[in-house]
Amino acid sequence: MSDAVITKDAPATAQWTKKDLLGLRELSAEEIRLLLTTAESFREISLRPIKKVPALRGKTIVNLFFEPSTRTRTSFELAAKRLSADLINVSASTSSIAKGETILDTIKNLEAMKVDIVVIRHAVAGVPHAIARHACASVVNAGDGSHEHPTQALLDLMTIQEKKGQIQGLRVSIIGDIAHSRVARSNIWGLTKLGASVMVCGPPTLVPPQIAECGVRVSWDVREAIRDADVLMLLRIQHERQEAALVPSLREYRQRYGIDTERLKDAKPGVLIMHPGPINRGVELDSAVADGPHSVILDQVTNGLAVRMATLYHVSGAAKLEGMEP
């Protein structure tokens, strides 16, 4: 027991100096590792009888969600509360945005009330970036259109690292609607920066060929994606982002790309099954696999809380650095 203490991991040497967390594309491998190391330290807090530390006492955080969300919103809310920050939830449908106020005006008004961090989700790519340029408050991207979802990718990286010991050299296959997935894009940046080899797989209508420019291999054959993979990351078929019918039917998608126990027989014995949720059971993932021994889907949710605590902790520190604290 006493051996488990201390110097196991050399503390990360990087410092976090960014006011905002907008995407993994902008981050160095060192910055990603720092967030992961911090998140690992934070995981223990949620196991305590008193699940709260005073680190962000007196800070105010706004959850500004323009799209529905359960996991991400509650995860940010709990993360804020476990760090002793005050948190307000604003959803687009109940706010003045429904009356025609611009997003920037909404943000400026929130800032006038001395808000320190804005966590934002929006259907349009780039909205968090635009706000970050104009706001003094820190901005955390909780998903912008099909662009990035950095905290989801961080929690995926943390889960892989926890289960596999490292990310360098692993083969990760991301299967599903790559074209519409911000989770896929953030994961591609994060995984390749940390030295994993990434393959994306899905029907040609949902896998843009240009994605290869991000340094990933492309396959339309799910058997190829399963073979040799250390991690299978399944994505949800996103009905809400598909104007045209890009998949003939969910039944056909399931037949060609769905993961069931039969298909999993060709996988490596220690393969990890991951899914960002919400799962369409029986479409991209069979229940037997989602709840099976390879699944780490609920570990992802647990780690998500720690990753969001780490994110709020570091952006709050960097805001002071820029002397931009409102």
Binding site: M1, S2, A4, V5, I6, T7, P11, A12, Q15, W16, T17, L34, T37, T38, E40, S41, F42, E44, I45, R48, P49, I50, K52, V53, P54, A55, G58, L83, A310, Y313, H314, S316, G317, A318, A319, K320, L321
Partner: protein, 190 residues
């Protein structure tokens, strides 16, 4: 917690303890802990990250050798409890608190390398209170350099060293630093 955060270069003024002196101090502290607590029943050591945690492990080994009985050891990170978090930037790196046992009703000995203003110990006491309700908490430090800003006193001290506020006491330990020694440094005026 480092004593004087500064970019001003420091140079070594004197060596306070060499490796052998560090070892002797820890052996003595181990004996004092056992004597004061009449054995190791219900006793546990908590080291403050990073170097206090290293010292806690070493003292635990000494106590195990003296009493022929293992003693529980934990590591406590106090970063999130610092009273200057809202003043420093960027936020310091957080290390894992690893206390794998319930501290409620235990007699704890909190261990750190240097006792200076007392603010680190204050943060540690708050952190421990969030983890449970120990029966008592004692404090052991390798170096007490004075200049307290809070009403805090150590129960076990390796060496008392009068210092100036502008000096810095550096404790180096084998595990993180490659060698055991304690030096006092002063600002390089040149």
């Amino acid at each position: 917690m480092s004593d004087v955060p500064s970019l001003v270069p420091f140079r070594e003024k004197a060596k306070l303890l060499d490796a052998e002196a560090v070892r002797r101090a820890l052996v003595r502290i181990a004996h004092e802990i056992v004597e004061r607590n009449k054995g190791t029943d219900g006793l546990a050591l908590i080291g403050i990250c990073t170097r206090g945690a290293v010292l806690a492990k070493r003292i635990a080994e000494e106590i195990s050798a003296i009493e022929r009985q293992a003693i529980q050891v934990g590591a406590l990170d106090i970063t999130l409890y610092r009273d200057d978090l809202s003043r420093i930037a960027p936020n310091p790196i957080v290390q894992a608190t690893e206390i794998s046992f319930d501290i409620t009703d235990l007699r704890l000995v909190l261990i750190d390398d240097v006792l200076f203003t007392g603010r680190t110990v204050r943060a540690a006491l708050d952190a421990l209170t969030d983890l449970g309700r120990p029966r008592s908490i004692q404090l052991a430090v390798l170096i007490d350099r004075g200049h307290r800003e809070l009403p805090i006193r150590a129960d076990y001290v390796g060496k008392n060293v009068p210092t100036s506020v502008n000096e810095r006491v550096e404790v180096r330990l084998r595990e993180p630093d490659g060698r055991d020694e304690v030096v006092i440094e002063e600002r390089d005026a040149s």
